[in-house]
Structure formats: C-alpha cells, structure tokens
Symmetry: C2
Subunit: 201 residues, 2 copies
Amino acid sequence: MPKIIDKDQKRRDILGAAVTVFSRKGTAAARIADIAAEAGIGKGTVYEYFSSKEEIFQACFGFFMDEINAVVLQRIYAVADPLEKFSAFFDAWISALSAPVMQSFMIMIEFWAEGIRRRGSDYGFDMAGMYSEYRLMIQNLLDDCVSSTAIPVIDTHSIAAGIIGAMDGIMLQWVLDPGAIDIEKALTALKQIVMAGLNTR
Amino acid sequence: MPKIIDKDQKRRDILGAAVTVFSRKGTAAARIADIAAEAGIGKGTVYEYFSSKEEIFQACFGFFMDEINAVVLQRIYAVADPLEKFSAFFDAWISALSAPVMQSFMIMIEFWAEGIRRRGSDYGFDMAGMYSEYRLMIQNLLDDCVSSTAIPVIDTHSIAAGIIGAMDGIMLQWVLDPGAIDIEKALTALKQIVMAGLNTR
DNA sequence: TATTTATGACCGACTGGTCGGTCGGTAAAA
DNA sequence: TTTTACCGACCGACCAGTCGGTCATAAATA
C-alpha cells in the first residue's frame, strides 16, 4: 500500500466515509472503527486527520451541504427569469434525487437533531443559519415572481418556509417508506401547486 | 414516600418522563438514571416496569402518538362537511401547538431516525405504517372535497404527502429556530393555500 | 549508484471511563 | 409473617482516544 501524499484528499475521503456511516447507523451508534473500515484505513489513522468524533461530525455538515449544493443550487444560477428559475429549482431537486449524495440523506436527520439540541450555542455548524439562508433565497425568488407578474402580495416568508418544509417532509416520508411514496410524482405535484399559485392573476 | 399501587399509572409516569428526557437529550445520550430522576424514582424501579431502554423507547412511540392524537385528531371528528373538516384539521394543529405534549416534539426526530434505520424489519413501532394511515386520512378528506365540489381531479395521494410533509417540515424549522419562524402564521399560510386550492372551480 | 539515515504516514493493542442492566436488601403494606 | 414496591451499589461489556512501533519514501552520504 503506497503512502498518500494529498492530505486534503484523504481528509475528504474520511469525511465521505463518515457521512456514509453516520447516515447508515446514526451518529451515536457509528463507531470510529466503522468509519476507518469504510475509508479502508486503520482506526489510528483517522485521528491523524481529525482530533475527535465530534470534529468529524461537525466537518461532515459542511462536506455534505457542499455536495448537495453542487448538484442542486448551481443549476438555477444559469436561469434569469424568476418564474423559470423557480421551475429550475424544483427540477434541480428532482433530478438530484438519483445523485450518489442522496444515498446519505438520512444524515440530515442527525444534523436536525444535533442542530436543535444545540440551538443558540456557538457550535461547529449552524443549521438554523443554513435554513435562514435557504428560506431567504426562496423568499427572494418568490418576491421576484410577485413583482414581475400580477400576483397579489403574499406572505412570502411563510410560503418559503412551507416550500422548504414540504420538500424536507416529502423526502422524509420517502426514505421512511420508499415503496409508499413516488418521490418524483410528489415533488412534481408540489412544483405544480407552487407554479400554479405563481401564475394566478 | 408511600408506595404506589396503580402500576399502569406509574408506567405512564415513567413513559412521560422518558419522552421528556429522550426529547431533550436524544435517545442515545439519554441515561436510564436521567429518566428515573425525571420521574422522581430510583433507577432500579424503572426496571420493575420496563425490561430495557429499548422497550421504554418503543413504548414512548405509542404513548406520544396517543397524546398528540388526543389533542389533534379528536377535534375533527365532530365536523361533517369535508371542506370544514379540512379547515378544522389545520385549526386543530395550530391550537395544539401550545399543548404541553408539543414541548417534546423533538422526540419525533428520534422516531424518524429509528423508524428509517429499521424500516422493513419487524419492530416495536411502525413509523411507516403511521404515516401511511395519516396520508390515507388526508387523502380521503381530499377525495371527499373533490367529489363534493367542482374541483378538478388531482393527485390526492401526492398532495396528502405534501401537506403532511409541509407540516412536519415547518415544525422542524420552528423548533430549529423558534425566533425565525412564526409558526402560527406559517401554518395559517399553508392552510390558506390548501383551502384556496380546494375552493377553485 | 549504492547505502544509510530521517521523516512522517499509518496502524491496532491497550486503557480509562461510561452506562445498561442486575441483585441483594429495606421497609411499607397486607 | 409474607409479600412486593422500591432502591442504588455493583459489574462487565463497550468504545473513544492514545501511544509505541512499523515501514515506505525521501534526503543525505559515500
């Protein structure tokens, strides 16, 4: 086995393994030895790159979010028209469902749990902040649609929370019982409702 | 300290304490000693009523769901008209937000995590089944509305998943950052969208 | 080039602390 | 006196994190 030179790449490899293991077994039940095995390295080596399980978990947040954003958010930047941008947003999520990173969607539940448990305190990752940013992005998109069409003024902040919530909640039901939910159909129905609301005049 | 005679009541007391502790610290970090302290009894006594932490956790599911249903579902049975029933459903949830049981909403995250982790296998509680029932209830409500009005035929199963998902997702954002979400406003906005859709003709 | 030395990536046996579950005992009630 | 609700000291399995050591590669030396 040749030695690795690229420390950053190795760090990412470990984080990728950690996301997989945390997603599969949950943060508490995940063993450092599991992460090491998943990454194909020894347990001691994990501690050459991270100082604690906690640090690994916190780093997973940024790593996972970056991966999600890479397959979702980037697609909507190319579009200019607000309504089309909105449409692209849903399409991006729908087509991202088959991306490898979605196999680890369950780690979101761990982030929710830890994010809530430590809300308010300074902490290695900021779930509340991430959701705030996400809501704001959707809200701005909604505001753009409202001002560029004859849509009556609506509570765009609440609607933004509802849209994000619906996507989270639908995906939650999907991972809970993949056979009972046609995820593509469900997200498409959500898209149609929102788009229909935005096309009202 | 007089001895207690009502074993069922004591069991419920312990479960109530367990829900509180599981919700506050998470399943893994919750200690049996914490639950005992919360219930005001000794650790050994807990094992007179339950044989393991796992059994307590599984029993919490039914206990918590019964409490939620007591403050939510019962209110809509009194209403007959489909549209009004739907309205009552949202109102019931909104007014249930201040119920004591909602203080422990975070235990839902534990149920989601364990429910997903053990999906498919026989297990002490059935998250997927509960969501299926819940979706079916909403779907029937939607179907009633569709057939009793001039609403065009819609994908009521997907819509039902979306409504439940939106409520879960909005409440998740709320517990994650209570200051950023006006939960009553957000649920009211969701209600208005759904009701507006059902009043289309 | 061949050989020795230095570096640091890599590893897993070990340790110290933690906690689910047990069990022998106390005392209230019957 | 018997029964049983109640209890917390105790035990052993488990695991995060440590540490002494190995070995592939690079640098220095001959």
